[in-house]
C-alpha cells in the first residue's frame, strides 16, 4: 500500500524539508514523553510509535499530492494553452492561404459574380482569422507571446491594406495593376504574416517543450522524495515496531512474571506473599495493584472465612448438640403428650366426679339454707329471752338497792343505840363522881356506876361491830349492784351479739343461696368441661401424631446437623491450609 502511494505521489524538495522539521518535532515530543514512558498505557505507546509513522506517511502523501497537482497544471497548460495556440496559429495560416488563393482567384476570373464570391470567401477567412487571433490573444498572457502577437497584428494590418487594394483592383478588372501590386506589396505582406505566425507557432512549441521538461523534473524529484520518505517511514516503522515490541513486551512481561509468581503463590494457598508495589498507571500497574488489593482482600476474606468457619464449626457443634437435645426433647414431648392424653382421661373422670359432687353440694346447700333459717328463728328467740333477763336484772338491782336502804335504816337505829350507850357512859361517869362525893356511903353506888359504864362500853362495842357488819353489807350490796350492772351489760352484749349472729346467719343464708346458684353453674360448667375435654382429647391425639412426626424430623435434623458439623470441620481444614 505504502509503496503504491510512493509510486503515485512523488514528493517535492520543499515538502522534504518540511517533513524533516515535522520529524524532529515528533522526536522531541517523543523524548519529552520518554520519562513517563513506563507510565504510558500500552495503547498510548503503540499509538505514539505508529503515529510517528503515520505522520511521515501523511507528509509524504501531502507532498506527493501537491507535486501531482503541479504536474497536472503543467500538462493542462501544455494541452489547453500551447497546443490550442499552435492550432489557432495554423488555422490563421490556413486562413491566410485561403485569402491568398481567393485573391489570386479574383485576379484570374473574369466573371464578376465569381469575383464577388471569392471576395466574400476572403471576408469569411478574414473573420475566421480575426476570431482565431482574438482567441490567441486571450490564451497567451506572457510578455514574449504578446510581443509576437503584436508583430502578427501589425503584419496582418499592413497585409490587409495591400490585400484590399489588390482585391479592389481585381474587382475592377485591373488585373495587371493588381498583379504588380501583389508582387510589390501583397506577396511580402503575406510572407511577413506567415513568418510572424510561424514564429508564434515556434514560440508555443518552445513553451510546450519547457513545460513538459518542468513536469518531468517535478516528477523525478517527487519520486525521489517519496522514495526517501517512504523508505524512512518503513525503516522507522520497523524500528519502532521492534522497539515497541521489545519494550512493551518487557514492560508487560516483567510485571506479568511478578504477577504470575504471586498468582502461583496464591494458587499454592500462600497469602503471605508480598506483592511488590507498582505505582505505574499502566494496565499492568493496575493489574499488580489489583493483585495487591486482591491479595489483601483475599487475606482479609480468608481471615474472616476462618473466623466464620470456626464460628460455623462451633455453631454446627452447638446445632448438633441442640438437635440432639431437640431430638430428646421431641421424644420427651411425645412421651409427655401420651401422658397428657392419659391425664386428660383422668381429668375427664375427675370432672365427672366433680359434676356429681356439685349436685350433691347443691342439695347440701339447700339443707344448709333450711338450717340457717332455723338458726335465725333460734337467735330471735334468744334475743327475746335476753330481754327478759334484762328485766329480771333490773328487778334484782332494785331489790339490792332496797336491801341497801334497809341496812341504812339499821345503821340509823344503831346510831341511836350508840347515842344511848354514850349517854349511859356519861351517866356512869357522873354517877361515879357523885359516888365519890358521897364518900363511904357511895361505895356501892360507885360499883353500880362502874357496872353501868362497862355495859355502856359493851353496847358501844356491839354497835361498832354492827356498824362494821353494816359497812360490809353496804360494800357487798354495792358489789352486787355492780355485778348486776355487769350482768346487765353482759346481757346487752349478748343481745348485740345475738343480733350480729342473726345478721351473720342472714348473710350466711344469702351466701348459701349464692353458693347454691354457683354450684348449679359449676354443674353446668362441668358438663361443658366434659365436652371441652373430649375436644382436647381429640386435639391431643393430633398433637401426638405431630410430635411423633417431630421426633422423626428431629432425627433427620440430627443427621443433617452431623453432616453440617462435618462440613464445618472440612471447611476449617481447607481454610487452615491458607497461610495468612
Amino acid at each position: 500500500m505504502f509503496l503504491i502511494w510512493q509510486e503515485f505521489y512523488p514528493t517535492s524538495g520543499l515538502s522534504l524539508a518540511k517533513k524533516h522539521k515535522c520529524e524532529t518535532e515528533e522526536k522531541q515530543i517523543h523524548r519529552g514523553d520518554k520519562m513517563n514512558f513506563r507510565d504510558m498505557k500500552i495503547g498510548t505507546r503503540l499509538g505514539l510509535g505508529f503515529g510517528l509513522v503515520l505522520v511521515l506517511l501523511v507528509i509524504s502523501t501531502l507532498v506527493g499530492n501537491r507535486s501531482m497537482g503541479k504536474i497536472q497544471d503543467e500538462m493542462n497548460q501544455i494541452y489547453n494553452v500551447n497546443v490550442v495556440s499552435m492550432e489557432l496559429a495554423y488555422d490563421m495560416l490556413d486562413s491566410m492561404a485561403i485569402i491568398s488563393r481567393e485573391t489570386r482567384t479574383i485576379l484570374l476570373l473574369e466573371d464578376f459574380n465569381a469575383k464577388q464570391e471569392s471576395s466574400s470567401k476572403i471576408e469569411e477567412a478574414r473573420a475566421r482569422y480575426n476570431k482565431d487571433f482574438a482567441s490567441l490573444k486571450e490564451l497567451d498572457n506572457t510578455v514574449e507571446g504578446k510581443a509576437l502577437l503584436a508583430n502578427v497584428e501589425n503584419a496582418i494590418d499592413s497585409g490587409k491594406i495591400s490585400n484590399d487594394k489588390v482585391v479592389s483592383l481585381g474587382l475592377a478588372g485591373k488585373s495587371a495593376e493588381a498583379v504588380s501590386e501583389i508582387n510589390r506589396d501583397a506577396m511580402p505582406g503575406m510572407a511577413k504574416i506567415e513568418d510572424s505566425l510561424k514564429k508564434v507557432v515556434n514560440y508555443q512549441e518552445e513553451r510546450s517543450k519547457t513545460r513538459f521538461n518542468e513536469a518531468a523534473n517535478e516528477y523525478t524529484r517527487t519520486r525521489l522524495f517519496m522514495l526517501i520518505t517512504g523508505g524512512t517511514a518503513i525503516l522507522l516503522g520497523i524500528l519502532i515496531s521492534w522497539l515497541i515490541t521489545f519494550f512493551i513486551t518487557r514492560s508487560i512481561t516483567n510485571p506479568l512474571k511478578t504477577a504470575v509468581g504471586v498468582a502461583e503463590q496464591i494458587a499454592a494457598r500462600n497469602l503471605r506473599v508480598n506483592v511488590p508495589a507498582n505505582e505505574s498507571r499502566s494496565e499492568i500497574g493496575f493489574l499488580i495493584q489489583s493483585f495487591h488489593k486482591m491479595v489483601e482482600n483475599l487475606r482479609e476474606e480468608i481471615r474472616q472465612i476462618m473466623e466464620g468457619v470456626s464460628v460455623l464449626a462451633s455453631s454446627a457443634t452447638e446445632i448438633s448438640v441442640s438437635t440432639v437435645q431437640f431430638a430428646s426433647g421431641a421424644a420427651e414431648s411425645a412421651a409427655s403428650v401420651s401422658e397428657t392424653t392419659a391425664t386428660m382421661e383422668e381429668v375427664r373422670q375427675i370432672v365427672q366426679v366433680s359434676s356429681q359432687k356439685a349436685k350433691y353440694i347443691s342439695e347440701i346447700a339447700q339443707k344448709a339454707m333450711q338450717v340457717s333459717q332455723n338458726g335465725q328463728e333460734s337467735v330471735n328467740e334468744t334475743i327475746k329471752r335476753m330481754d327478759l333477763i334484762q328485766e329480771q336484772m333490773a328487778s334484782i338491782a332494785e331489790s339490792i338497792v332496797q336491801f341497801s336502804e334497809q341496812s341504812q335504816a339499821i345503821g340509823e337505829l344503831i346510831s341511836i343505840v350508840d347515842d344511848v350507850a354514850e349517854q349511859s357512859n356519861l351517866l356512869a361517869v357522873n354517877a361515879s363522881i357523885e359516888a365519890a362525893k358521897a364518900e363511904e356511903h357511895g361505895q356501892g353506888f360507885a360499883v353500880v356506876a362502874h357496872e353501868i359504864k362497862s355495859l355502856a362500853e359493851q353496847s358501844k362495842q356491839a354497835t361498832a361491830q354492827v356498824r362494821r357488819i353494816l359497812n360490809d353489807i353496804q360494800k357487798a350490796t354495792s358489789a352486787a349492784v355492780m355485778a348486776t350492772e355487769q350482768g346487765s351489760k353482759a346481757v346487752d352484749a349478748g343481745v348485740k351479739q345475738s343480733t350480729e349472729a342473726s345478721e351473720s346467719i342472714k348473710t350466711m343464708a344469702n351466701t348459701i343461696s349464692e353458693a347454691t346458684h354457683a354450684v348449679t353453674q359449676i354443674a353446668v360448667t362441668a358438663q361443658q368441661q366434659l365436652t371441652g375435654i373430649d375436644q382436647v382429647a381429640l386435639a391431643m391425639n393430633n398433637i401426638e401424631q405431630a410430635s411423633n412426626q417431630n421426633v422423626d424430623s428431629a432425627r433427620q435434623l440430627e443427621t443433617a446437623a452431623l453432616k453440617l458439623d462435618e462440613l464445618g470441620r472440612r471447611l476449617k481444614e481447607l481454610v487452615e491450609q491458607y497461610q495468612v
Binding site: N425, V429, N430, S432, I433, A436
Partner: protein, 198 residues
C-alpha cells in the same frame, strides 16, 4: 362458767334468817351463860383499894389530841355538848356559852387558854363542868376516856419539855401520859375572868 346452785343459796338464807330470829331472843342456855358471867364479874373483889384519903379520883379526857386529867373534886358533872352560842367581845379561849338545864355557862378551851395551837378539826361533843365556890365553867372535850385513881403524894412530875407558861397550871403527868390539870389554880386565875372594863 360457774353454775349457780340455788338450793345451797336458799339453805344459807334460811340459816341466816333463823340465826337472826334466835339472836333477838337468846336461848335459855345463852341467858344462863350471860348471867353466870356477870355474876362472876360481880363476885370479884375490887383489885385496888383506892381510898379517897390516899388516892385522888381523876376524870380523864381528850381535847384536840392532848390528854388531860381533872380531879373529880372539881367536877360538877359531865354532859354532852350540844350547841355553843358564840359570844362576841371575848378572848379567843372563850368558845361561847351553853345552856345546861337552864344554867348559862361559859365554855373555855383549855388548849387555847394555854396558847397551844389547836387542831380544831375534832368534834367537841362532850363537856366537863368544873366548879369551885367562886367560879364555874365548862371545858369541852372530844371523849371522856373514863375515871381513874392516882396517888396524891406520888404524882409524877412533868417532863422538861412541857415546862413553859402553862407549867404553873399543871400538877404532873400520869403513867398513861395524861396531863393532870391544877384545876384549883385555873379556876382561881384572874386571867380567865373576863373583865367588863377590859
Amino acid at each position: 362458767m360457774k353454775k349457780i346452785v340455788w338450793n345451797e343459796i336458799y339453805n344459807r338464807l334460811e340459816n341466816a334468817r333463823t340465826a337472826a330470829e334466835r339472836g333477838l331472843t337468846p336461848s335459855h342456855e345463852e341467858k344462863k351463860m350471860i348471867l353466870r358471867a356477870r355474876a362472876k364479874i360481880l363476885a370479884q373483889a375490887p383489885k385496888n383499894k383506892e381510898s379517897t384519903e390516899t388516892h385522888l379520883k381523876i376524870v380523864k379526857f381528850l381535847l384536840n389530841g392532848e390528854k388531860y386529867a381533872v380531879d373529880s373534886a372539881f367536877i360538877r358533872e359531865v354532859c354532852s355538848l350540844k350547841e355553843i352560842t358564840p359570844l362576841p367581845c371575848t378572848p379567843p379561849f372563850v368558845l361561847g356559852i351553853i345552856n345546861v338545864r337552864g344554867q348559862i355557862l361559859s365554855v373555855v378551851d383549855i388548849n387555847k387558854f394555854f396558847g397551844i395551837p389547836g387542831k380544831g378539826a375534832n368534834v367537841l361533843n362532850k363537856t366537863i363542868i368544873v366548879h369551885t365556890s367562886e367560879m364555874e365553867f365548862a371545858i369541852p372535850a372530844e371523849t371522856i376516856t373514863g375515871v381513874g385513881y392516882i396517888a396524891r403524894d406520888e404524882i409524877p412530875p412533868l417532863p422538861p419539855t412541857l415546862t413553859n407558861i402553862r407549867a404553873e397550871y399543871l400538877r404532873g403527868m400520869t403513867g398513861e401520859q395524861f396531863i393532870v390539870l391544877d384545876m384549883a389554880r385555873i379556876l382561881s386565875d384572874k386571867r380567865i375572868v373576863v373583865s367588863e372594863e377590859a
